[in-house]
Symmetry: C2
């Protein structure tokens, strides 16, 4: 909150400018997705459409499209790259649901509860395979390097998270490493392949890659706070999903670090042993309030949002740049 005061911030940040600037290209992405997913194996489009239509904002492919156009790209390879980015993300979601044993995502049943773990694993693999094929078809070794590095980092981050999962002693630093890999790496790759395919200079490329990293971190931290209701007093209907699944996120890490012996025992039981009585979520929220854990998570999100903003400073003004900046605020403002 402090950080953003430094610049002229709109009162209600919106993702609308990004949507409008990319909507023509997004139609092409959607058509390509329908073609690529419209396999002769019936189950693939069923599962994939379920996921694609389940209300994600599709931020990542929009970022690829916007950064390519911002850099003056007039070809069509950015469509395939945006699709590849979205497929990588969707595959990760499918595999995550198996790993987390999730029953709901954004209030809807997950693919695994409808089609089973098997379909989630294999359709995820199918989407990864298609993503890989599309990227190769584009034929840019530099894009391939960026995206394959991201794929390797994401996968490593997932295993890392599994190893630290339910470990209440996870430090802030360890957690930032996990979300750097799990979330920020793909945002960064999504933002970097735009300037690459447009043939941009190294400065633009690294500015946009940095923007992606910081935006990804801000986005994830905002998401962590949002799962506990953010700074609003009204809890959304999905509040506490992370808590019930025993996911160690930033608000929990901060509360544990700042907690008394008794409080630590509470967190240990709740997160590591899944020991939830009816009042556990209320206790968790009370402790987060006591230690300002949600506020501080949000502050961290603003800090990385500011970094994302600063990363774009070297780039000349454009509608695309403005939309990318407003997207930062949109990602964070969801909380309050």
């Amino acid at each position: 909150m402090i950080a953003v005061a430094k610049r002229d911030k709109k009162k209600y940040a919106s993702i609308q400018p990004l949507i409008e600037l990319t909507q023509h290209d997004m139609l092409a992405v959607n058509q390509l997705i329908l073609i690529e997913v419209g396999s002769d194996v019936e189950m693939i489009p069923e599962v994939a459409n379920h996921l694609i239509s389940s209300g994600g904002k599709r931020l990542r492919p929009m970022i690829t499209l916007a950064t390519a156009r911002m850099c003056g790209y007039e070809g069509s390879h950015h469509i395939a790259l945006a699709m590849a980015v979205e497929f990588m993300h969707t595959a990760t979601l499918l595999h995550d649901d198996v790993v987390d044993e999730s029953g709901l995502r954004r209030g809807k049943s997950t693919a695994r509860t409808i089609w089973g773990n098997q379909a989630s694993v294999l359709v995820g693999d199918f989407l990864l395979g298609q993503a890989f094929k599309m990227m190769v078809d584009v034929g840019s070794l530099t894009c391939l390097t960026v995206l394959s590095n991201a794929a390797a980092i994401i996968a490593k981050g997932e295993v890392m998270q599994l190893a630290t999962a339910k470990r209440i002693e996870t430090s802030e630093k360890e957690y930032l490493t996990v979300i750097h890999a799990k979330t920020a790496a793909l945002f960064s790759a999504a933002a970097e392949v735009g300037p690459i395919i447009a043939g941009c200079d190294a400065i633009t490329r690294s500015a946009l890659a940095s923007y992606g990293i910081s935006l990804g971190l801000a986005f994830q931290l905002a998401d962590d706070a949002l799962d506990y209701g953010g700074s609003s007093k009204d809890l959304g209907k999905n509040t506490g999903d992370d808590f019930r699944e025993g996911k160690i996120t930033m608000p929990v890490i901060l509360s544990y670090a700042r907690g008394s012996q008794d409080e630590r025992l509470f967190w240990k039981k709740a997160m590591e042993e899944g020991n939830h009585d009816d009042d556990a979520l209320e206790t968790a929220l009370m402790l987060m309030k006591k230690h300002q854990s949600l506020d501080d998570t949000i502050k961290q999100a603003y800090y990385f949002g500011e970094q994302a903003y600063r990363a774009l400073l070297p780039l000349e003004s454009s509608r695309h740049k403005d939309a990318l900046i407003e997207t930062i605020d949109f990602c964070i403002d969801r909380i309050s």
Copy 2:
């Protein structure tokens, strides 16, 4: 058995010549695997080493190494390509175990029973990510096209198999399509990237790709027969694994197609409903004998083995070519 009589076949085919010709390069592959798998995330080397040390023959990377050298390649990119091929295979095994809910592989506990589905899914993804990264590092777009096509085909084949799984009405043709995708596509890619990286002509490249396809089909059909004891009278300790897991393979498809109404009912119950009393496997073996289903599966394996042999005819004689030919017989002779 008829088909191979046409050519001069060794009495006891061995994989030893292939092992000897590639052993120097395989040491380099092993070193590279240790580096790539030796992640700072503890669980990754644990799971991967379990799988790598579990007694696979590592046919696929040896084929990549042999075809590259056979084509006169003197560089070192074939090492990374062989590793990528092995990682793709290992990732598939890890994900297959989750999908099949397997408890044993080659008589050893599967990764999923030791570390859980989560680790199997995620370490599989990690190996895929590393494979992808290694291939991109090699920098050959043609190799990338071949391997990414294979990855997409394999993943599609897996979903296809899930859709047909436990469907006793699966036809011979449908099943051949499944194993073409699930097994033969990777054998083919493994054999094709060798000549590509060596800069070979299109004829050599397509000859080796065809060799790989046919070898893969022969290998899988031999495996199917072997799971029911092959043509030997002594059943191995893992006999009937496919049966118990309800996997529809060629011997079952042939027995069902040739069976009476009562027999079909038996297969339906056994494979679709998993209705196994103690004598079920014995009944299955008896029916396979009655309808010569194992013999005919083996005949099909020999047929594709012969195709693999014929694919190599245009290539000039070499120790590598001889080793690849003997490998065909080795894959099939395991049965008898």
